[in-house]
Symmetry: C2
Subunit: 156 residues, 2 copies
């Protein structure tokens, strides 16, 4: 149900990039980090920390506990491999890690899919709007909820 034809490819690519980013920055892409990244990438829907936790438990001999998952998620966030969606308390794989980017998210209320987008025009608008108040932007959280194109075509 994902918009990509072969979702396996997304996952493989994400793992490859995780590996690459860690290698080049001298960090460890440990087993747990890899598994959490893989679980976040299960679909293009946001993954909840406690769901990841459950899914980890299915694989592992000893059930993982919350800090394990949150630590892995934090690591992945710090390295730009996943994003946190604060309006959903959930996490989503980053589609272009490594590249510096201010991004925004389109969250479909119907199918739940999230897509990450970049728009320099939007980034500029944001900067401008902030600048008008003399405000200096450091980071931003832009989460848009609505209907994705497929769900608009096939109304429920």
């Amino acid at each position: 149900m994902d918009p990509c034809h072969e979702h396996e490819h997304c996952i493989d690519e994400a793992l490859r990039q995780g590996e690459e980013i860690c290698r080049s920055s001298g960090q460890r892409f440990t087993d747990i980090r890899r598994k959490v990244l893989q679980l976040v990438w299960r679909s293009h829907k946001p993954a909840k920390a406690y769901d990841i936790l459950e899914q980890l438990a299915e694989d592992e001999t000893g059930a993982a506990k919350p800090p394990t998952v949150y630590r892995a998620l934090e690591f992945l966030q710090d390295n730009g491999l996943v994003h946190r969606l604060s309006s959903l308390n959930a996490f989503i794989g980053c589609t272009h890690p490594g590249k510096q980017h201010q991004c925004y998210f389109l969250i479909c209320r119907i199918c739940g899919d999230v897509s990450e987008c970049c728009s320099s025009a939007l980034t500029r608008s944001l900067q401008n709007a902030a600048a008008q108040s003399g405000f200096t932007v450091e980071s931003s959280c832009v989460e848009i909820s609505g209907r994705c194109s497929r769900c608009s075509e096939n109304p429920a």
Copy 2:
């Protein structure tokens, strides 16, 4: 420490608007709703639900419980009197309730003050960016973190 000269005025104005909005829509501006709105408006910093709860307890004979506060906050949100900042799990008084608006928030990382802004240019950029993906915007959450003008002038 608020950017307004007489913050009492902000509070009074907010309460007046609460009253007005309820009156014109046939809803009740009950004591609890009024008190919660007042507490949210204590400052221009975001108010946390459990802090409001504590502050209510100081006034009240019987300590309020979480649902009381969350219900009041939900009511106030539904009526456009407060906004929820999902990146902070907190609430902030709306500076221009009643008027239809897509707004965004400037959150100062230094002093904690939040200001609500509207920018039709930003709204348009957002719509455009979404439209490029065939996405229909229903609601949006735009929370910008950084340094407000005063905190930029007086760097810590």
